[in-house]
Symmetry: C2
Subunit: 351 residues, 2 copies
């Protein structure tokens, strides 16, 4: 209802554009004007010139019912995760997170004790990542909880890593392992369904600590950016893996105007995740490619760094960069090549 | 419902602490550790050391059903307001806003065209205030619209103005006029009620342009911080008037550890607001003290600056700073003195 005349004849649904299409559409043509603005929309963080260094700025929202389900997400973990996923964006630019501001909108069903738990998680993450909570806004909402975190970080000017610097013949590397966070989510959803059927049964989560931790208390990849610094490696391009390996690889490909080829047999999946995927009748590589929320890093490096990384189990070379004309490809275990899509690869539909 | 054991025996309601009490409670004991963090929670913006200058950072949320009502708030105005009220926080530190990030959570009832309108307002405000939109996050919500803006600004190190610097005998000055935004809201609420009763009647908003503009399209006080710069005045303390004159005066008093005395006969109210208050059977001074959303500045200056400001209609001296022991007082038109409270002054209950 509006007291003003309704002009709403055009009603294009947001779904029809998709998240990235929508942002492109709305921010198309925005030109930055301040001399201190080095890079605006389009990477993991914006870049501001601080003089000696670059400052990195990123904002991420977590919305109840969309990004988290409080029936299995303890508030302390949620607070921790809200900070960690923002720090992850700073890692993706090869920087160090320094400060956050926190916006909270919450309905009156939240108690002071509930907020204390949320803050305990936020403070723990701030401590762990060496980040100062410097400000924010707390307000009521008509329903649910919404958390908005803005993170500020710093990076040496000669170490900043954008999505756009990948070069032909670079190696594509990912940190840690993939797919576990998505399988943690499957377990939580299964236990929730069982709890709904019989609320007297306590959830059985034993043996699944690793995948549950990956879902409930993800860590930003500060450990890996530190190793890269020690090894004197500056990636040519980098992004954090929040939406799944294939989607992030396509972002690097698009921003760098190159082609990317991924090899199925190289994709790192933890053995507990592998076993669980089988239990859920899922393809573990699908979980890695499309699951999301692993918050590992995906980056490209020149081949001269190969020797430094090849034996470090923290890093896995999952593919290589090609000319744009070759497109984005997925080489399956049987040697067959498939176009890489945001959902994985085309053969997945039949697998 | 939680699949985990419920430990929720303590259930202190958030209302029992109030917004400021809650923030104090949750952020109590937070110590900032990074050398670049100059000032954390507790002012209009956090302060980061950029080397030559200080950077200012502030986050504000706008939640549908709490801060705005789309039945009378056009989306373009809402976008403009979301930017303006954040720029206002930078003005309150005597700085210039430079960049914003934008977090949007919205339900699927919003169309692309609706978002375009919102963005038109955001872009217009960015243009007007010389601010770059550098990043953000767009996500779905289960209900309504939530806007989170983080603003970054800059200020010369010797010009930064905190809430905490007011000195005994300083003059208290406010910019522009007060109460109009609150009266604009009364008109919109009245028209909404009439529309509900008879939807065929178009709203009659004629003659109320000024107060409606103050409510629907508030401006940050960049005009006034520029004049202060030209006059070579650095306020000893400053805050923006978002919650009403009395509440903001009490913030300055608390942070500066001084007493504040306001004079009823000095408080600037526009004549259209004055007339409207009478129409609504409201005390216009109440609207100024407690109405909020005027986004003027309230600041203190040393008496040596009196001559520079006394004839400028942009600025009104509304009181003076006393020793803390004298408390916070409101001198009514009849000369009687009353304790100043966040709601106005004690005699208001009977007026």
């Amino acid at each position: 209802m509006s007291i003003f005349e309704d002009k709403g004849v055009n009603t294009t649904s947001i779904e029809s554009l998709g998240e990235f299409g929508l942002i492109d559409h709305l921010t198309n043509g925005i030109i930055t004007k301040n001399s201190s603005t080095v890079k605006g929309i389009g990477d993991d963080a914006a870049v501001i010139d601080m003089g000696d260094k670059y400052q990195l700025v990123s904002t991420d929202l977590l919305v109840e019912g969309v990004h988290f389900d409080l029936s299995y997400m303890p508030l302390k973990h949620l607070g921790y995760k809200a900070v960690a996923i923002n720090v992850s964006d700073i890692c993706a630019m090869n920087g160090d997170a320094k400060q956050i501001t926190l916006g909270l909108a919450l309905s009156n069903r939240y108690t002071v004790e509930a907020l204390e738990e949320l803050y305990d998680g936020i403070k723990l993450a701030c401590e762990h990542y060496g980040v100062d909570l410097v400000g924010g806004d707390t307000t009521s909402s008509t329903s649910g909880l919404m958390i908005s975190v803005t993170v500020l970080g710093e990076v040496d000017k000669n170490k900043i890593t954008y999505r756009s610097g990948a070069k032909v013949n670079d190696l594509i590397v990912c940190t840690g392992d993939l797919g576990a966070a998505y399988l943690g989510l499957q377990i939580l959803n299964r236990e929730k369904e069982m709890f709904k059927e019989n609320p007297t049964i306590q959830p059985d989560l034993t043996g699944n600590d690793y995948v549950l931790r990956r879902q409930l208390k993800p860590e930003a990849a500060i450990k890996y950016t530190r190793i890269l610094k020690e090894l004197d490696i500056v990636p040519t391009s980098m992004i954090d893996i929040s939406d799944g390996l294939s989607s992030e690889a396509l972002h690097l490909s698009k921003s760098s105007e190159v082609g990317i080829t991924l090899h199925e047999d190289k994709i790192p999946v933890d053995y507990t995740a592998m076993n669980l995927a089988n239990e859920f009748n899922m393809n573990p590589i699908f979980c890695a490619l499309s699951g999301g929320e692993d918050y590992e890093l995906l980056f490209t490096i020149g081949q001269e760094h190969y020797e430094k990384l090849k034996k470090d189990p923290d890093f896995t070379i999952v593919g290589f960069v090609t000319d744009k004309s070759e497109g984005n490809n997925f080489i399956a275990n049987d040697g067959s090549s498939h176009p890489l899509t945001a959902q994985g690869w085309d053969a997945m539909k039949n697998s």
